[in-house]
């Protein structure tokens, strides 16, 4: 039990420090790496709570896809974030106000917090001894089947949207057409002309 507590506090500490450092560090590449560290430790916390599916998904989706993509963007486009941040002090009072409101709200919530006693056992599907992944699968493909399909539609729309907004068909672009290249005959390209002396050749183009 002690080991469990030590590991939990270790990961919790890493999560909080790395997330603070994400927003305090000057170097953007460092910030992204710290964000990845943050995600990894969050996923460790999930696994410790017994939500291994959620932990793995966090690892795959956030670290594997989102953060790496983010890293590429940060490394490729050379934005001077220090300059972008320079004007942000002007918004400090307003930001502090919003932060204060949210802090008070969180405090009020924490005071009144109590879990529903029958929180987890509400659904008969989850009371079985099945593993996390199995019970999520059981729910997704039965009760939430319709919504699961709908999530697929959202991804489709995201794809259509990305193509509509970025894809430009260039007419000036010359594409390689292998069939055309291979089927080209000698007669199409080469023309033999008898050159008459001192008259030259008229090239018809």
């Amino acid at each position: 039990m002690l080991a469990h507590a030590i590991i939990f506090y270790f990961f919790a500490f890493v999560t909080i420090t790395s997330s603070i450092m994400v927003i305090s560090t000057k170097n953007t590449v460092h910030a992204v790496f710290l964000l990845i560290l943050d995600f990894v430790s969050v996923s460790c916390l999930f696994i410790m709570l017994g939500a291994e599916f959620l932990g793995m998904i966090t690892l795959i989706v956030y670290v594997g896809a989102v953060a790496v993509l983010f890293l590429f963007v940060v490394m490729m486009i050379n934005i001077d974030f220090a300059e972008l941040k320079s004007g942000s002090l002007d918004y400090m009072p307003f930001g502090l106000l919003v932060g204060l409101v949210i802090l008070v709200e969180l405090g009020m919530m924490a005071v009144s917090w109590k879990y529903k006693p029958d929180f987890v056992v509400k659904n008969p599907m989850t009371t079985t001894t099945a593993s996390n992944t199995e019970s999520i699968g059981l729910l997704i493909y039965t009760d939430y089947f319709f919504f699961f399909q709908l999530a697929g539609f959202i991804l489709l729309v995201a794809m259509i949207g990305a193509i509509v907004l970025t894809f430009r068909r260039k007419n000036s672009l010359r594409r390689q057409d292998i069939t055309k290249q291979v089927s080209r005959e000698r007669e199409d390209a080469v023309e033999l002309i008898k050159v008459i002396s001192s008259k030259g050749v008229k090239i018809n183009d």
């Binding site: 919530m109 009144s112 919504f147 709908l150 489709l156």
Partner: protein
């Protein structure tokens, strides 16, 4: 599997969306074809929804509801979207945004709206809202070579993502405190003493108020309405509002029914603020699309006033209001789309001067719409407001009714100003003659409905009453 026939409309729209997408990818310049097919599928879906009109069934273990309310609103969405496709066709071609994805995105937005209306689960509500909004973000920035259009898209996207975040935060609070995302179980476990639940309720209302652009979450509306292509603006003003109203009615009257006093005050505030801001801010506008944005904000205020009553009359008055609002907006946007000189669309209110001499029939029908929007008897807009105020007074919210009446008078000013410009200002160059049949049909339909609604209001009221009973 037995009840699969109840979600045929959703399945049909989903499948035709994918089929049309494939056709569009392989066939070049297929905008015309895809638009026709889309409008056709929307019209086919109307009887499919109507067949289920008299049932009240819960599907997917109480997570999805088909009842009279959902059927009524779905038919309204399908009809108004079909009209929007018809009368914006010419505009889209003139402005060279005739990509085949346009009707497909409209279709996917409609699918999202269907789920918003029918969902009895927070997850479904969120997915529906996302599907709808994601399509609308893309539609708003469809004219990507125009700075205004891209700005509108980005603005809408950023603010929409923020509001979705707030909505999700509220959903997670509700889930954490009640132990379920299903509306029925939420209603069972909702303890009004619990502060966390009230916070969750407020956050969800914020998210939904953003979607129907009720004050104080309206800031995006004028900019997006002005920046987006007019055809997209017309669509924005019609179907998404219906869907937003459907979602609000269902979540408030099903999930949060037993904490009526908690949300009534929020709704009254939003309603009053929307009515006042919509009326006052519209006075100084010179762009007709911005004016329409403020006009829809104020109309949303009246709609919310009906919902704030908490009685059956209020709900049915709101549903009737949203129906007539949609009809009036179809007509007004059809009129805005004829404002074209030498193939260039103009958007200034001043450009309307002399319309009465150049196009007397259109000037007359535009006048009918404006009078109706202002709520002048015997047009339909008057009855819409009349039923709302009746319900509000019946629920003893006298102050709300008085503010509503005062703002009606204020907003009448800017509607009448347009009529003055149309009839009494010096004549200008003629607008191009109307070639699009869609505009003619939409104008005729909505003018007739608004003019002659008063002859037999009970036909429409009958359906509206059945729809509103579904949530009581």
């Amino acid at each position: 599997m037995n009840n699969l026939n109840l979600i045929y409309p959703e399945l049909f729209i989903g499948i035709s969306l994918m089929v049309l997408l494939i056709i569009g990818v392989f066939k070049k310049n297929s905008f015309n074809l895809i638009t026709k097919f889309t409008a056709f599928s929307l019209l086919i879906a109307i009887p499919m929804v109507y067949i289920n009109d008299n049932v009240s069934v819960k599907l997917f273990s109480n997570n999805y509801i088909i009842d009279e309310l959902s059927s009524f609103l779905k038919i309204l969405i399908l009809g108004s979207s079909a009209f929007a496709l018809f009368f914006t066709n010419q505009y889209i071609k003139d402005n060279k945004i005739d990509q085949f994805e346009y009707p497909i995105l409209i279709m996917s937005a409609i699918l999202g709206m269907f789920v918003m209306i029918s969902s009895n689960n927070l997850i479904g509500l969120y997915l529906g809202i996302e599907l709808q909004s994601l399509s609308l973000y893309v539609l708003a920035s469809l004219n990507r070579d125009s700075v205004k259009s891209t700005e509108a898209g980005v603005k809408y996207f950023v603010l929409g993502a923020l509001s979705s975040g707030l909505l999700l935060y509220g959903c997670s609070l509700i889930y954490g405190f009640t132990g379920s995302t299903n509306y029925y179980i939420i209603a069972e476990n909702f303890d009004s003493q619990n502060l966390g639940l009230i916070f969750g309720l407020v956050f969800i209302l914020i998210g939904l108020a953003f979607k129907i652009s009720a004050v104080p979450f309206h800031m995006w509306t004028p900019d997006v309405y002005e920046g987006a292509p007019t055809s997209v603006t017309a669509f924005f003003a019609l179907a998404p509002k219906v869907a937003g109203f459907g979602a609000i009615i269902r979540i408030l009257y099903v999930a949060f029914d037993n904490v009526f006093v908690e949300w009534q005050i929020i709704l009254i505030f939003m309603s009053v603020a929307s009515m006042i801001l919509g009326a006052v801010a519209a006075i100084g506008q010179t762009n007709i699309k911005r004016l329409m944005a403020y006009s829809s904000i104020s109309h949303m205020g009246y709609g919310l006033a009906g919902l704030a009553t908490g009685i059956n009359e209020g709900v049915s008055a709101s549903i009737l209001y949203i129906f007539l609002y949609v009809v009036m907006k179809i007509g007004s946007f059809a009129c805005i789309l004829i404002m074209k000189r030498k193939n260039i669309y103009v958007e200034n209110i001043r450009d309307l001067s002399g319309l009465s001499k150049n196009h007397p029939v259109i000037a007359l029908s535009f006048t009918v719409f404006l009078f109706s929007l202002a709520g002048i008897p015997p047009l339909a807009g008057f009855f819409a407001k009349f039923y709302i105020f009746m319900a509000v007074i019946k629920a003893d919210l006298i102050a709300l009714a008085v503010i509503g009446l005062v703002t009606t008078v204020i907003s009448a000013f800017y509607y009448l100003r347009i009529i003055k410009i149309i009839y009494f200002d010096p004549e200008q160059e003629k607008f191009d003659s109307i070639t699009s049949n869609g505009i003619k049909v939409s104008l005729t339909f909505s003018t007739l409905l608004i003019l002659f609604y008063f002859l037999n209001p009970s036909i429409l009221n009958y359906f509206v009453n059945i729809a509103s009973k579904a949530v009581q």
